[in-house]
Subunit: 342 residues, 4 copies
């Protein structure tokens, strides 16, 4: 009963097989190998973005922080949700990579920033000549950190607010595949067509060992990205092993199939928990994460029964927990967990 | 005939097998998994350093730059050889991670800094109160960027100079295994017993897919390292895949066996080239790299014949080239290359 | 009718005279001159802090940002009021000087952080291992940006919260003299005895041309401050001109007399405005600033009549304005302004 | 006998008088005052550069480091003479302000970089894709740190080398007035007409209390400069006091008259020392500094006789010393010094 995180899972067999296949013989290093080229081509194809620059890195924090660094100068602000990963879980990586830009938390229920809240934050940030920081960029996470999903329309409304101030928009897509599956939107519709400029596309949480693609839809900043990546120690030398993962993940829709499994398992979990005594969902379980509130003592009881998951601090009564389903969560695992509720 | 770099090789079969084995089931993320623990224990055992802090990252540049960042403040200087990787090949990563420390090149033939040159550099850097930068750290590469090796005595003499000024010493050990095999020194003798404080221990170039261990012999700075690593996006989430590589690499001396193969192949290359008309070694081939000077036109001729290697800028007459042997270089490959010299 | 800011005033005659006197002959540069020594001695005497390190800079932003840089590492947070100068008016200088620390706004009416709000912010910031940023420091402004004053007891209650987490406390004392006069507290009571570790003591707004003293009550971090100051271009070469200002300002209580004049003028303003139709104070006018709310159109009307002041965005009905009295504000100027209310 | 530095002198009477005059009444802060406008207009007039952006700061290190920060990105190199102030005397301020750019020392006798040495440095810096740092900017000091002066032709030859690589050129003109007087060149000829893009124009060492103008000949980067200046705490609030100094300094050629006095005094010193037993000039005394080599023991003997100057480390035999003449050095002072040589 493994619901701790989507990064406690291993890699999907297809990914591991691709890695083994990639190991044959010699290959140019630093991204000049055919597998990396293939991965980039697949990203461009899947996103219907033939001009996009695509660069691979090994971690989501690197993808996010490097992306933000090419979006705004050190003296500018980045608007993100108050629960965003870039704000809460990266130990200040955005500040480090941007050389001191400032993250500004924006509110909104269930992990989703609202256009009104974003507009209010942007308007209240009167730059005040050189005295205040300048407005820099907007960063949106889809799936959000609360397990909800922005629709394409949601995103368009938010990016429109950013455009009013001329700001670029970054998307933290550590779980973008799950958002695509949840909404049925195309990759292009959910990103550049909705006004996203730079995307962190996460493979790690969804069946890879460790690979993320940064997709820069307007490639003018691509070279700066490459310099920043190298300078940050994120240019992997045996780069074919990143390329192999990303190529295999995108090939024939594997990424979406893996995400669909995770989403379905989370739905099964959420459905099975609904209506149980004293159990409520803290936010709608729209992708592969379920945030629940249940009676005091439940966390301990479930842990003792062998369930792995993180307690979660939630406002209000009772205890909270986060349950994450992965590409490899099995129905019987979910059912065994649900059976603990008698 | 693959002599371009030790990062154009894939991974050794033992490493790939370990990766596949590590993929089973779930594992705690961010380094709390048993394989990472096992890797750290093996590093401590192999280095006879039971107190050392051991942290894994995916690239050598990250290992070096993070190591330097815990060795010196932003207003200090780092003394390294004029050909050092940290100076020439990392796009300013040390400056980025240290927030602006300054690298000071120190001379010495064949890629080896001499104690006299280091002393002169240290003495001439009169810090001059707050006006000049302070002396910060010394960084030594073993194997050097010229393919030569510092003996334990060489290192002790250099670290003694650093000690005179109270400076910590970092070793870029991207090819440390090759240096150990070349000298027969123990890992402990070549590092902390010779005065090294922080080591970047490279697995990537020697049979791994991508893993480096930073070994901090005095663990007091370990927590700062962890914060800096996370902040730089270098804390890998599915960490077991780093742990698995490093553990398998160190287990039963695999790392030294792989390095021995590379060194032997390089020796075969060097020996075979010696005495050929117009061919001279630009520096002694003491580990797995051979720097040669040969007549104009040779590079083109060899490339046309299917040999992969980089031309190298060398002072003096003729053309230069760098030939790198890997853990998987075969004798027949070397011999075929040598046969091109008729 | 000059109420725009305390930095639109010139220097007090005593300060200008001291500057002229200091101009005689040669003097050692970079702070080794007798006037700088005299200034430092006076600061130590006035603050009853014989061990304190005292360093002069020319601007308040430099004083604040350098102070914060010696209080917390790049991966830590600084808790300050949501209206703090360090947050709103320094274009990210704290982020620049700390290499990326994060400012966390803390609430509280009338510009004053409450102990409960500070405690809540500190407790909610679960550092979460390496994932979240660490708690770094607390920064308090006295006088606040809303013209109110922390009492010694207020400060002690706040610094006690900081101590519970082992955090150092910085005070932005750009208007400390006004706060001392307002409360009658001694300099020592309002700073180190109340738990302040590092103080930016502002002379510029209160009768000087441009000088601030950074007072480090535990001098262990003094040398780091000096290096950071130089590295930031804030070590003035003809340092006697900073020393002369600060010495003359502190000599014989001039600083407090100048502040008393400004406070008295602000009180006269506030008292004269009270009870006027539709005019209310937006926050208590406890020092030399008066924040008022008045009927729409008033700002324009007063500006047209020759009054200088800044409109101020305030929540609620009507228009807002900030009126600042300086060391040189005259009663007749205040009365002329009040007469505009008929 | 004051020859320690041009920053041990006070301000010229005209400057002090201007400061006192500027103190009258209220004035807008942060540079919106008429005196600052007047100073900027005078700079533009004197430099025949009606479009140039002009910004004032209080220190030379700030002027230099901010200038370099708008000239090159963090991953680039700045070429400067091996004795340059930016390299040796600013505690790494350029690295701090540029967020990690690297200074590359270029050789040349008597403090002057040669075009050949610059070209060699630029050519040897093969950027090597993302691996090496990019070429960023060139920084030239006139007067040099060895007391010599670049002619207009010298500068044009150097900036031509920079242009070949598309690099902007900064001039550290801490003593530019002395260079202009020494050569008779016009301000425009020695700067933008000779290919200088950004100039630090120093008033401090030449009769001011503390003011430097940064002149950006192509004003496109002016706003970035303003943001960086504020963010670095270098935007002075009572800005009229910077404006007053700079305006008075440039008015009616005062700056050149002050520099002429200093240069003449240095010439008198150099001429008087020439031919003395065992005394030689270490470099030509072309402006207001004299670098001498004399017999062992001379420094102590002269210090004992009441002469103020710094010993200077020089290669070769004997002792070295630096003698600096200021705007206020008197003939009798020079003669008294010379009389010590009997």
């Amino acid at each position: 009963m493994q619901f701790a995180s989507d990064n406690t899972s291993g890699a999907a067999p297809e990914i591991l097989a691709a890695l083994a296949a990639a190991n044959e013989g010699h290959a140019p290093s630093y991204g000049a190998d055919p597998l990396t080229q293939r991965a980039a081509a697949l990203v461009r194809e899947v996103f219907e973005a033939p001009e996009a620059a695509v660069h691979l890195v090994a971690t989501g924090t690197a993808a996010n922080a490097l992306s933000l660094a090419i979006c705004c100068p050190p003296w500018a602000t980045v608007y993100c949700h108050a629960r965003a990963h870039v704000l809460e879980d990266e130990c200040g990586a955005p500040e480090f990579f941007t050389a001191g830009a400032r993250l500004v938390p924006v509110g909104g229920d269930n992990g989703r920033m609202t256009p009104a809240a974003l507009r209010a934050a942007l308007e209240s940030a009167q730059p005040n000549g050189v005295h205040g920081m300048a407005r820099g960029a907007v960063s949106l996470s889809n799936v959000t950190e609360s397990g909800t999903v922005y629709s394409v329309a949601d995103l368009a409304a938010l990016t429109a607010e950013a455009r009013r101030f001329g700001l670029p928009v970054h998307m933290d897509g550590a779980r973008l595949a799950n958002a695509l599956v949840a909404t049925g939107a195309s990759a292009a519709d959910m990103t550049w067509r909705a006004g996203i400029d730079v995307l962190s596309l996460g493979g790690t949480k969804n069946g890879c060992l460790g690979v993320e693609a940064v997709v820069i839809f307007d490639p003018a900043r691509s070279w700066e990205f490459e310099l920043r990546r190298k300078r940050a120690g994120h240019l992997v030398s045996k780069h074919r092993f990143l390329g192999a993962q990303m190529a295999a993940w995108l090939e024939d829709g594997l990424w979406l199939r893996l995400a669909a499994r995770a989403n379905r398992a989370a739905r099964r979990l959420a459905a099975g928990l609904s209506g149980r005594d004293g159990v409520t969902l803290a936010s709608p379980a729209e992708a592969n994460m379920v945030f629940v509130r249940w009676p005091e003592g439940t966390n301990d009881r479930l842990h003792a029964a062998g369930a792995h998951f993180y307690p979660w601090e939630l406002d209000g009564h009772g205890e909270g927990a986060r349950l994450v389903a992965g590409w490899n969560t099995r129905d019987d695992e979910v059912d065994r967990f649900l059976s603990l509720f008698g």
